[in-house]
Structures are given as structure tokens and as C-alpha cells.
Amino acid sequence: MTERGGLRERGWLVLLGRLLVGAIFVYAAMGKIGDPAGFARAVHNYRLLPLPLLHPFALLLPWVELLTGLALILGRLSRGAVVLCLGMTIMFTIAVGSALARNLDISCGCFHTDGGASVGLSLLLRDLALLAACVLLLLWRRSGGLGWGFLQRRS
């Protein structure tokens, strides 16, 4: 009984984490899908991506964020969505860390294409927290489940 109760609690945590991470990615995507040029400038500021890849990247990434976030919220294709979230968060963390190391005075470009939060230690810590959440979701995908099924009564 205790083990089942523990699994149920974990299921709620996984659900909460999934909804939170999904909402973050959906919100991040909405500010960038309508302004690929602005997002491309923000990406270019990091001086990491070669110019030939800049525009395709700026076009594609917001849609990956949107669909990944929606998949997490709806609980569909959620395992794949967690993998994508993890990959994107690792990429963001590396980019922010690289900008910090090079002392680049730039805007994050995380949620807005015109200004927004500056690259700094707090931003890096925020990305690391998001990374931790994605890792936990990936590790708990079997025990807690990533879908809504854990809410069903077990016979």
C-alpha cells in the first residue's frame, strides 16, 4: 500500500513537472515564432552558430519548443518530448555558459526577441534548474508515467 501511495505521489510530481516544463517551452516559443528575424539576431549575439545555419535554426527551434511543450502538457509523445526538452536545455545552458565565459553583454533571447533578460549567472542557474527538472522527468518516466494514466484506479 505504501509503495503504491509513493508511486501515486510521484505521479503527481511528474504531472506537475511535465505541465510546468511544458508551459515554459510553449511560452518561450510564442515570443519567437512570430519574429524569426529578431530571434536570429539574438542567436547571432552568442557568436556560436555559423551564419549559413542561423536562419534555418531561428525558424525551426521555436516550433520544436512549441510542439515539445504541447506534447508535455497533453501527455502525448511525452517521452520523446522530454528527450527534446533535455537536449534543448543542455544546448541553452552551454550557450549561456559560453557567453558568460566570454563576457558577452547580450540579451538572453529566451522568451523575447527584443531585449529581455541579460545573460548572467541567474540565467545560468535558471537553465540548470530546468535541466534538473528535465532529467527528473526522464528518470521518472517509467515509475510515475508521463501520461495521465496514473490517475486511473489500479485494480
Binding site: L54, H55, L59, W63, L66, L84, I106, V119, G120, R142
Partner: protein
């Protein structure tokens, strides 16, 4: 869990990942195709090289210019308090009140003078001030990267620090 099941789960994860990526690619392609005018897929280097209105310099270089004594320093931050920390001798010329601020400093800053601009953590407003200077004939304008924080890290002096009780 049997090895077969765990292997099947692994295949499922990558299949789901591939489906999401494929749908995202299709959605991005459709959004790009429907946008008018169509945004170029190839980034033009000239457009991105001219991103900032003036050359960028590090705080270390700016400190050297400060000690040389041949440059005016301009604070572009939207500060409300005149006693806020700033680089000694810097003039406050802000994007939102550029004309008025420049007029107030016109007895000290001339178009032939060399100017170092600095701001907050965002280069965009500093670059806009640099562009406005250039429009008025100021040809020797550079932008210090990193703002006051980088200046402090480089060991530059700061006026107007809050007094400790």
C-alpha cells in the same frame, strides 16, 4: 522488466522524438512559406556584421582609453538618480532623451571628439545612441561591452558608490 520491453521502450522514445522533430520541421516550413514577404533562409553577412552602430571595445580597452584622457565617456543608462554609480566624468545621454541630453553636454562634447559609450546589460539601446551620435557627425564613437559591471571587474574607478553607514 524484460530486456525486450526496455529495448522496445528505447525505440519508442526515439520514434516519438523523431515524430515531434518531423512535425516541427513541417510546421516551420509551412510558416516560412506562408509568410509574406518571405524571410531569406540564407543570412547575409553584411547585415549581421553591421549589427552594432559602432565598434565594440572591452572594458580593459576602455580603461586604457580612460587613463589616456583623450576620450569622453557617455552613460546611456536610464538612470533617475544623478548620484547613481557611474564612470567618473561621464555624461548622461539616454536613448529616450537623446536630443535634450546632448544639448546639455554640447559645451563639452564636440563632433570631432572621441567617445566611449556604455550602458546596462543590453547593447541594443547603447547601439541606438551610437547611431544617433553618428547621424550628428560624431565619427569617433565606440561601445564598451559589459557595462559598469565589466568596468568594475577591469579595475576601473566608479563615482557615486553608495556610502556605508
Amino acid at each position: 522488466m524484460t530486456p525486450e520491453a526496455s529495448g522496445h521502450g528505447g525505440v519508442t522514445i526515439w520514434r516519438e522524438t523523431g515524430i515531434l522533430l518531423l512535425v516541427a520541421l513541417l510546421a516551420a516550413t509551412a510558416a516560412w512559406a506562408l509568410r509574406t514577404p518571405r524571410w531569406p533562409l540564407r543570412a547575409q553577412p553584411v547585415f549581421y556584421q553591421q549589427e552594432w552602430a559602432a565598434p565594440l571595445v572591452t572594458a580593459g580597452t576602455a580603461l586604457r582609453l580612460f587613463h589616456d584622457g583623450q576620450h569622453h565617456f557617455v552613460d546611456t543608462r536610464p538612470l533617475e538618480l544623478p548620484q547613481a554609480p557611474h564612470i567618473p566624468g561621464a555624461f548622461s545621454i539616454r536613448p529616450t532623451s537623446f536630443a535634450d541630453d546632448l544639448l546639455a553636454a554640447s559645451d563639452f562634447i564636440f563632433p570631432e571628439d572621441a567617445i566611449v559609450l556604455y550602458g546596462t546589460g543590453n547593447l541594443a539601446p547603447v547601439s541606438s545612441v551610437a547611431a544617433r551620435f553618428q547621424e550628428r557627425g560624431y565619427a569617433h564613437v565606440v561601445i564598451m561591452v559589459g557595462g559598469l559591471a565589466a568596468w568594475r571587474t577591469a579595475g576601473g574607478p566608479v563615482s557615486g558608490e553608495a556610502a556605508h553607514d
